[in-house]
Amino acid sequence: MIRFLWKGLIRDRSRSLFPMLIVVAGAFLTVLLYCWIGGVQNDMIWSSAAFQTGHVKIMTRAYAQQMDQLPNDLALMGVDTLMQTLQKDDPRMVWLPRIRFGGLLDIPDKNKETKSQAPVIGLGVRLLDPKSPEREILNLKSALVRGRLPHQAGEILMSEMLANQLKINLGQQATLISSTMFGSMTMANFTVVGMIRFGIAAMDRGAIIADIQDVQTALDMKNATSEIVGFFPDHIYKDEMALDEQAAFNAKYSKENNEFSPQMIALSQQNGLGEILDMSKTASTFMITIFVFVMSLVLWNTGLMGSIRRYGEMGVRLAMGEYKGHVYRSLLFESLMIGFVGAIAGTILGLAASYYLQIHGVNFGGLMKNSTLMISEVMRARVTTTSYFIGFLPGFFAPLLGTSISGIGIYKRQTSQLFKELEV
């Protein structure tokens, strides 16, 4: 019977093609929308975590209150000991000290006079330590546009946009003018060895990245750091775990009466990210639920309409002596096949489009020129395990459900009505 129905599906396009196309479109859109919303949300979290917030971040209580101003005079001190404590307390997490600083980058001419100058935001990270995962977390290899990554002390990476603005080339010297953690003006020379582009407007406008030891020397921050960021080993943010980590650390080490005691803050508690996350999570769940529900209704309706339109055919088949149960089962099989083929095709197409968007993304750079948020300009979809069945399930079951309800009409067929339909 399956073979018979399959032939029917292929040969009688008017009966099967339209319902199947609806199923394909429904499953395709459901998969694509789910992957896109999940991907954008994930990009947002990861960009913020990698460049700014970590999954959790430790600062002094005083620094945390003014962290937007990068107050390195309030930085964490005794970092080596604190790092050892963190590794001991929670070895699962990846702990990394980072120094954020602001300043001016001054490019000298051949007479060591100022040729060009621009304000910069700097990030001191463990660049030279071969065991450090910073290169991977900051995705430096992919971000490198020209030159190479630093190999030795005194070398820095600079955003390409800034390099163009300052008209500086690889191998040239740049002087950082900034403040030490004690407030004195300081100058330090660096060699520019690489130009980077992260695709994050806030970083690409004027960022430099240097090894943390160089920055500690330049800013007189011996064994001190602005912050220690912590990441979950799989790089996936889990809010509940982060909040637990935060509560445990603060209960143990943070003292309310000591403004220089360390304080841990989870990603969702920083820069209003929690509200943004909650909002986007609620919005995406709502959108996906509505979408899946609407698509289910459409697909169900397709099944329903398909069966109702075929009452005449059912009448003839019953008149020819076919059992009602047989007709009903054949309709269900037909719907199953339409649902199966349509849902598979729609899911494959949806996954293909999502994979494409996961790799290439869509560039919203034009809309984010002045953005100060750590959000990637290129937004990407994200294919997860759920993507494989989020479109398939409604695509497969909704036509079946529609047919099973409308097919009940077969059992209500009366002989008089049957003859009437035959006359027509």
Binding site: A62, D73, L74, L104, D106, P108, K112, E113, T114, T175, I177, S179, T180, F182, G183, S184, M185, T186, M187, A188, N189, D220, E259, F260
Partner: protein, 245 residues
Amino acid sequence: MKFQYILIIVLWTSIGFARNPSGDEILRQVDAKMTARTKIIVSEMIVHGRRGSRTIKSKSWVQGVEKSFTEYLSPAREKGTKMLKLGKQLWMYSPQADRIIRIAGHMLRQSLMGSDLSYEDMMEDPHLNHIYAAKVIGQENVADRPCWILQLTATTSTAAYHTRKIWVDKQRLIILREYRFAKSGKLLKTTDVLTVAKMDGRWYPEKVVFKDQLRKGKGTEFIVESIKFNSSIPAYLFSKAALRK
């Protein structure tokens, strides 16, 4: 008879002035006391930050109000750092970077060596009567010394502070206390002279505490260790070449 009238008027005016000199007149006398043809000052600056104190020692050569050259002597990290002021321009030399950088624009508002003073404060014309109109608004004792209280209002838009309130020692004509305000009326900085000493034949503030009211630190003490007035200073010192020497 005519001569007698003139004499009476002059005497009356003089007596009146001695009792209540105008704010501008007091300010002119204060400026005269504080400035000299040249000054060579060795000083210590103790910056009381939120995490402790540190002492910075320096030697400055000042010529009139336009030229000054400062070399930092300690601590080790600051040693060899030099600053040159020529008119309205300021350069800084860092021995670590071997670079001379002109400090301009918003950098002038930054803290000088982490203290409660800014580069802008350092660049200010020490002749207050050039940029402020003064008015006597009262009298009060500060550290048991009778003082005039003067309200200064900027006459030029380039002044770093729109208004100031100063307490001037009536006898020595030295400012013993000062409040500096923004145009909005917000108190930005305060200065308190703790001791005044006779140095090189002049009464001069010896120990002064500056406090930036927008910072949480405990202020900056500025202590004059020695000062020489009107000594000769070699001209080459006020050149950019001297910064690298």
